[in-house]
């Protein structure tokens, strides 16, 4: 009986899996208990109670409405949202810039292609920290002192303390406007689908472009104008040291964003070049012989096929952006590393808990990025019938 169990491959696999999982769990429990026992012996506080202590730390840039009288948990969230904010915008802009540079590198125009090539080589061989510091001190040095701010209509000010824009006193109208805009985009998507089907079935044309203009341009403009008029505005005004009022986009954000975008774009450009290079030459020739224009060849033939090659390495680049955003700590961008692993850790001394939570943040959002990209990859993958 036992002998039969031992030789049954399924049972044996199960046994080993259970054994390995159990020892991993056991090892983790041992390490956690050992660490907490040692910390108790050394008189170091442990546990997660510190999260409810008041933080008492000022954050110069927050999207969550955090105040220094809030608790450390709120400080943690302020850091997490700042990390996500800079990461998402960096991913978006790096993709756009990377695409442009990648296409430029493939261009038949010699100068364009040489410049793009030089950019990629430059970016790939320089450490990111250098980029971050270069942009930071570059940005601060290039911008004027608050007294000599550059301004647009006396409403938007640019100086070395950041870009100050008027702040809405109430956010609710903008939430309605955003809902209206999303609704209009969804409607446009439905209209274009319906128009394509109608064209296929009856051959009749629908003025999709005109409808699109109304839905995707007029509706958002109208919604934003309505929102802007139905809320009060906190206008920046010159103060003794600096501008008072308004919402300040700090230079640390701008510098970190610029560094992440310019750095990552170099890698994205190579992925784009590789992806397009992977599309067989015959595909272009076939498209050209069908009479498609170069732009159409790129849009309908090359890019859809290149995307399949590009998505997996792009996932790694997006994950890199998320992780590299922690370089913000070097220039006082209030991300989760700077606020939570810097200020809060020093204040409470609870290194193990805080570092574990920070790791969990990167792991959690990293896995979400991976999952989204895998889903997209599966969607555009070559469907074999």
């Amino acid at each position: 009986m036992l002998r039969r169990l031992f030789y049954d491959a399924r049972i044996r696999d199960l046994f080993w899996q259970v054994a390995i999982s159990a020892s991993l769990v056991g090892l983790t429990v041992f390490f956690v208990r050992n660490a907490s026992q040692n910390m108790v012996n050394a008189g170091i506080a442990s546990g997660f109670d510190f999260l409810w202590r008041s933080a008492g730390i000022d954050v110069p840039f927050t999207l969550t409405g955090y105040k220094s009288s809030d608790n450390i948990w709120a400080l943690f969230w302020a850091g997490v949202t700042n990390t996500l904010f800079v990461s998402l915008i960096s991913m978006l802009l790096a993709t756009l810039l990377g695409f442009v540079i990648g296409l430029a590198r493939l261009s038949s125009h010699w100068l364009l292609s040489a410049i793009a090539g030089a950019y990629v080589e430059f970016v790939r061989n320089i450490p990111l920290l250098f980029f971050v510091l270069f942009w930071y001190f570059g940005v601060i040095a290039a911008l004027p002192q608050p007294r000599d701010s550059l301004n647009l209509f006396s409403a938007i000010f640019l100086n070395n303390r950041g870009l100050t824009v008027p702040a809405a006193t109430s956010g609710a109208p903008f939430q309605w406007a955003l809902a209206a805009i999303l609704f209009a985009f969804a409607a446009q998507w439905l209209v274009s689908r319906w128009a394509a089907r109608r064209k296929a079935e009856t051959g009749a044309d629908t003025p999709v472009l005109a409808i699109g203009l109304v839905l995707c341009a007029l509706v958002p403009i109208a919604a934003l104008v309505w929102a802007a008029r139905s809320t009060g505005w906190d206008m920046p005004q010159a103060g003794r040291f600096n501008l008072r009022g308004g919402f300040v986009i700090i230079p640390e954000f701008v510098a970190l964003l610029a560094a992440l975008v310019t750095y990552t774009a170099g890698f994205v450009a190579e992925i784009v070049r590789g992806g397009i290079g992977a599309v067989a030459r015959g595909q272009r020739e076939a498209a050209a012989s069908l009479g498609l224009k170069p732009g159409q060849i790129l849009r309908f033939v090359v890019i859809p096929q290149a995307m399949r090659v590009m998505i997996p390495p792009m996932t790694s680049q997006y994950l890199n952006v998320l992780k590299n955003s922690s370089f913000g700590a070097a220039i006082a961008y209030p991300d989760v590393v700077s606020l939570f692993m810097g200020s809060a850790l020093n204040d409470t001394g609870q290194a193990i808990e805080i570092i574990a939570m920070t790791l969990a943040v990167y792991l959690f959002f990293g896995l979400i990025v991976s999952a989204l990209m895998n889903w997209y990859n599966a969607r555009i993958a070559l469907v074999t019938r």
Binding site: G239, R240, L339, N346
Partner: protein, 358 residues
């Protein structure tokens, strides 16, 4: 549990642990008779002697407190204390290895046992003492937090800073002090938190902030790091009390006593008029009983802590008393030119006080 009847006929109930304790105590008594006194074991002192040098955690660089020159030689008030401690323990003020630590690194470095103590512009606070597993062994500098601003801003006190941006080192007491102080007064100040003091100073110098905040003493030294130090002024009025002194981790009480009493000894020496120049003469000729005990001419104070009896003699001979060290590093003979102020002896209107060597 077993019942015993001892020699005198009394009933004693002994557990196994009790018995072990009695055996241990007897062994200690027997041993003690041989060497006159038995000391509580001190793993830190044993480790220092075994490795032949003291490991001292200092600041990465505040002129006047702990600052390396271009040859890598450290100097400053906090550094002097480490040298005095090395002289007291090992008889040689040169046997110190300095470990520079940032605001962020200092606690793990001490907690993990990488250094024997911290002596680095660290403010004594309740929650640090209670939750970080560290003890503060006295005060070697009464610091107060203030701000450095550009002269052109015409701000002279912290309350003038309404609307300003302030650069600060993340995780320092200054970060929280400033946030609390401005919030309490309803002044709107933007605080930008850098990972290191030097990053914050560089950003202030680059025009990112209107002010940089740190202690009065630290600022006096850090000012030299600015491009044009003369264009800046340090606000005279402090917004907080930040007493600073050597820090040890929990445990090893005998080592903690050594750290505490070497500092007390340096202050006592100033009060008793013992200096690095007259220390030989004082040891040989002084009639003051406290001086004689301090310098090991009478009694065996060093031995009580497991040191040699000339521990404080060595420390003062090498480094001088507290006043000499202060004048040389941050006071009138230094480039910082700080007043003694609160850091004068209690007999001279300051706050420095030492318990008696009795």
């Amino acid at each position: 549990m077993r019942d015993f009847v001892n020699k005198n006929g009394e009933d004693v109930t002994m557990t196994k642990t009790n018995l072990t304790a009695v055996i241990a105590a007897t062994a200690m008594l027997a041993g003690g008779a041989a060497v006159a006194q038995t000391l509580v074991p001190s793993p830190t002192l044993d480790a220092i002697r075994a490795r032949g040098n003291l490991e001292c955690g200092v600041h990465v660089g505040v002129p006047g407190f702990s600052f390396p020159n271009d040859k890598g030689e450290w100097s400053g008030l906090d550094v002097d204390y480490c040298r005095a401690l090395a002289a007291a323990v090992l008889g040689d003020a040169g046997k110190v290895k300095f470990t520079p630590t940032t605001v962020q690194q200092r606690w793990p470095v001490l907690q993990s046992g990488q250094v024997d103590l911290l002596s680095r512009n660290t403010t004594i606070t309740f929650s640090r003492n209670a939750t970080l597993g560290v003890n503060f062994q006295g005060i070697n500098f009464y610091e107060g937090q203030t701000f450095i601003v550009r002269k052109a801003s015409k701000a002279t006190a912290a309350k003038d800073l309404d609307g300003a941006s302030v650069c600060v080192a993340a995780g320092s007491t200054e970060e929280k002090n400033a946030a609390d102080w401005f919030r309490e007064r309803n002044l709107k100040v933007t605080i930008t938190n850098f990972q290191k003091n030097d990053d914050a100073i560089a950003a202030y110098d680059a025009g990112r902030c209107d002010a940089y905040t740190a202690g009065v003493g630290a600022l006096a030294g850090q000012r030299a790091k600015l491009k044009t130090p003369d264009d800046h002024i340090i606000m005279a009025e402090p917004i907080s009390n930040d007493p600073q002194g050597p820090v040890t981790r929990y445990g090893d009480e005998r080592w903690q006593a050594v750290v505490r009493w070497v500092l007390n000894g340096m202050i006592a020496a100033e009060n008793l008029g013992v200096t690095s120049k007259n220390v030989d003469d004082m040891r040989a000729n002084s009639k003051n009983a406290e001086v004689r005990r301090l310098l090991g001419a009478e009694g065996n104070f060093g031995q009580m802590l497991g040191l040699s009896n000339d521990w404080m003699y060595n420390a003062i001979k090498a480094v001088g008393n507290y006043g000499e060290s202060f004048d040389r590093t941050v006071g009138k003979d230094s480039s910082l030119k700080l007043e003694r102020g609160q850091n004068a002896l209690w007999t001279k209107g300051g706050l420095l006080f030492t318990p008696p060597f009795q």
